[in-house]
Symmetry: C2
Subunit: 159 residues, 2 copies
């Protein structure tokens, strides 16, 4: 696949994810926005104003929801780009909330260090089911990590 | 404190939590409802219809958000009943999603088995800060656990 085609596929996958993000009621209420995708890292954000707790900082439920969804979105994009049809589920996750966040929620999801996409996609094709470990974080624009998630996702081939 | 007074305190704490649950934007969108509290277990629910993913099952982000919030609510009720003013934060959590849930989200939060409230409240009074481990789950009405959370919460005395 040449670079132009690959970019077209990525753009169409990203558009589908953006449409879905607007449709899902809890994500729409959180005003989640798909901010960008460089082919390996997916960025999503949500304004603090509608995700605030009683202390004026980001609501923990919104933070874990956004990171969980960013990981789901990343797997979904990779499947779409690979031309595979599968349902994606989060299987488990561990979240650490490091500091109260008094800013908009900016999340980023990527592969866990020891993982790669190729064997995940191959296993899915061969066995109809595959698992992958991701990591996500919410960080300040200057880079300080406020919360992080380590999560396992399962894809189950359709049909 | 006699039983009548204790019940009055519990009811007023519960009313404050219900009011807060209606005010918080992401919880209002999820239509979270404080379903009941027996003094040790806090129940919350949310309808599937507004918390559904593309597969027609409960959105993982809504499940983790509801369980995280139920834990927060339980700590908040205990502090209110003890007459203590403190901010409550979730510090970390581990969630397992066992099966897709095709029903309304019914969550319950309680103390982790090895924990008790008295030392937590005493530590908060003495040191201005205390931690406690809780567990929460989302189960079917007949009892099958669909997702569970183990989480640590921190209370920091106000003023």
């Amino acid at each position: 696949m040449d670079a132009v085609l690959k970019n077209a596929t990525r753009e169409s996958a990203l558009e589908a994810l953006r449409a879905y993000t607007r449709e899902l009621v809890p994500l729409a209420a959180m005003q989640v926005r798909v901010a960008g995708y460089d082919g390996s890292r997916l960025r999503m954000d949500a304004p603090l104003a509608v995700n605030m707790n009683d202390k004026g900082s980001a609501f923990g439920g919104s933070m874990t929801s956004l990171m969980t969804y960013a990981g789901w979105g990343l797997v979904t994009l990779q499947l779409h780009q690979a031309g595979l049809q599968a349902d994606v589920f989060v299987a488990d996750s561990t979240v650490r909330y490091r500091k109260p966040l008094y800013a908009d929620l900016q999340a980023e999801a990527e592969l866990a260090p020891e993982e790669s996409w190729a064997p995940f996609l191959e296993t899915l094709v061969q066995r109809g089911r595959a698992r992958i470990q991701l990591q996500a974080r919410i960080a300040l624009p200057e880079g300080e990590v406020m919360a992080d998630l380590s999560g396992r996702y399962v894809a189950i081939a359709k049909g």
